[in-house]
């Protein structure tokens, strides 16, 4: 099995084949849940779990799934996992589940999931599928986290809910600081994502359009 493990299945999606900034999947939730770091982190972890499990399950079932209903089977598996995650969050991480609210449900429609299931899990053994799921999930989480860090710091002046800027202002006595309102809006996430894609492409000539 180890011999079949494709190189870069896990590490590739973290950066050079990142699902968000290279494959440009899952943009909608990257715009929506990145106003603060905590929900972004939880969303990243939730998606990683769902994607890893879904990839393994679909990979295990890949030889039994009837070809004509494979998309629906994938959807059922994903939906069941997402509902499970949502129920567990509601029971044990209530405040986080409130902040995520509809976005947890939106994991079902996250294009990364269907994309990876259809493109990878259906044609690979469980172990590489697990690695692919973890890699893509963490790649997504990484981008969300970076974007959320910028947005929370400049938009609300806080990091993980700790009011760093307000404390700094209090200590130095400098008055008149205003948070940058646009960082609260989804627009800023799009701009930040654009900057990340720009940087990534500048560093990796392979990714540039010929």
């Amino acid at each position: 099995m180890a011999a079949e493990k494709k190189p870069g299945v896990f590490t590739g999606p973290l950066w050079t084949n990142n699902p968000v900034v290279v494959q440009v999947l899952g943009i909608c939730s990257a715009l929506a849940v990145t106003t603060q770091m905590k929900p972004a982190l939880v969303m990243g972890i939730s998606l990683t779990c769902v994607l890893a499990f879904a990839n393994v399950i679909i990979s295990l079932l890949r030889n039994t799934i009837p070809n004509r209903i494979r998309i629906i089977v994938q959807l059922v598996v994903v939906a069941a996992l997402v509902i499970l995650v949502n129920q567990i969050l509601k029971a044990y991480a209530f405040e986080v589940s409130k902040q995520l609210s509809v976005y947890v449900g939106l994991i079902i429609t996250n294009c990364i999931l269907m994309g990876r299931l259809e493109a990878f899990a259906l044609g690979n053994k469980p172990w590489p599928a697990l690695m692919d799921g973890l890699g893509n999930g963490l790649g997504y989480a990484l981008i969300l986290f970076v974007v959320a860090t910028f947005r929370e710091f400049f938009g609300s002046g806080t990091l993980f809910g700790i009011d760093v800027i307000a404390r700094f202002v209090n200590e130095t006595g400098y008055d008149g600081y205003q948070n940058c309102g646009i960082f609260v809006m989804p627009t800023s996430a799009l701009i930040l994502l654009g900057c990340i894609i720009w940087y990534l492409r500048a560093k990796n000539p392979d990714l540039q359009d010929k």
């Binding site: 106003t35 039994t64 070809n67 059922v76 567990i88 044990y92």
Partner: protein
């Protein structure tokens, strides 16, 4: 077995559905109690947040249950109808606020909860607010002092107001705090506090709270919600006011000292 045959496909789909259904049912039933406890706790937090300034501390998700028990809130709630009569046999805490309103207006047959918080020997009457915001539902709680008119605090929550703008009704403590000391009745008339642009004064002489800059629509909605929701409590509040008013029937000396301490009622 032929994976592309119709029989195989149908059986496969049916089996998958049954398995998934069983799995989700087990999860839903197993986690139900914990989820109910969480949402109850959140409700307690929101109710108590409307008297947080009287309590002198912030009510958080963590300490809400403790404060709730400390104030013995479970035994200090009642249900009233729109005529102000007490309804018995209904648990005020379990009432679904949403179901008591239709199109933003209190229903005729509504059963409205009142939570009474006795803090430092004074009662505070907490009432629920509900209505439509700009994008989705907005709800909250508002507390009044023993005179049934002076607002002691308010708390708001919403399902989908714009983050950073309309969402400030919840996120900016200054908005809810601005309701403190405002009135529900003015000169004996029902004229609840309104949310208006800074500097504007309501025509009917009601008190005013500054609207949120950039969230005029949400502010208007909150104003309407407060008025509509409290109109259902109007009769109950009048009863509260008359039962708590300095007594006129009893001998003057028995309550003279009390009435001196009680806020001057109707001096204006």
């Amino acid at each position: 077995m032929n994976r592309n045959s119709n029989v195989y496909t149908v059986i496969y789909a049916a089996l998958l559905c049954v398995l998934v259904a069983i799995l989700l049912t087990v999860a839903a039933v197993g986690l139900k109690d914990q989820q109910k406890a969480n949402s109850d706790n959140e409700k307690k937090q929101q109710i108590l947040a409307s008297v947080s300034s009287v309590l002198g501390k912030e009510v958080t998700f963590e300490n809400a249950a403790d404060i709730w028990n400390e104030l013995d809130m479970d035994n200090n709630m009642r249900v009233v109808d729109v005529k102000g009569n007490e309804v018995s046999g209904v648990n005020a805490f379990e009432i679904t606020t949403k179901a008591q309103f239709k199109a933003g207006v209190v229903k005729e047959e509504a059963q409205l909860p009142i939570f009474v918080a006795n803090i430092q020997g004074k009662p505070y009457y907490i009432m629920c607010l509900y209505g439509a915001g700009l994008w989705d539902a907005v709800w909250g709680y508002i507390s009044v002092e023993a005179d049934g008119s002076t607002i002691a605090g308010a708390s708001f929550d919403h399902a989908g107001e714009t983050a950073g703008l309309g969402a400030k009704i919840k996120d900016d403590p200054a908005f809810a705090a601005a309701f403190i000391g405002k009135h529900v009745f003015k000169n004996g008339e029902f004229a609840p506090v309104q949310v208006l642009k800074a500097g504007k004064t309501p025509l009917n002489g009601a008190d005013q709270v500054d609207a949120i800059t950039g969230a005029t629509k949400t502010s208007d909605c909150v104003s309407l919600i407060v008025e509509n929701s409290l109109s259902g409590y109007k009769a109950a509040l009048q009863k509260v006011a008359s039962s708590n008013a300095p007594c006129q029937a009893c001998p003057a000396d028995s309550c003279a000292s009390d009435s001196l301490n009680v806020e001057p009622v109707n001096v204006q």
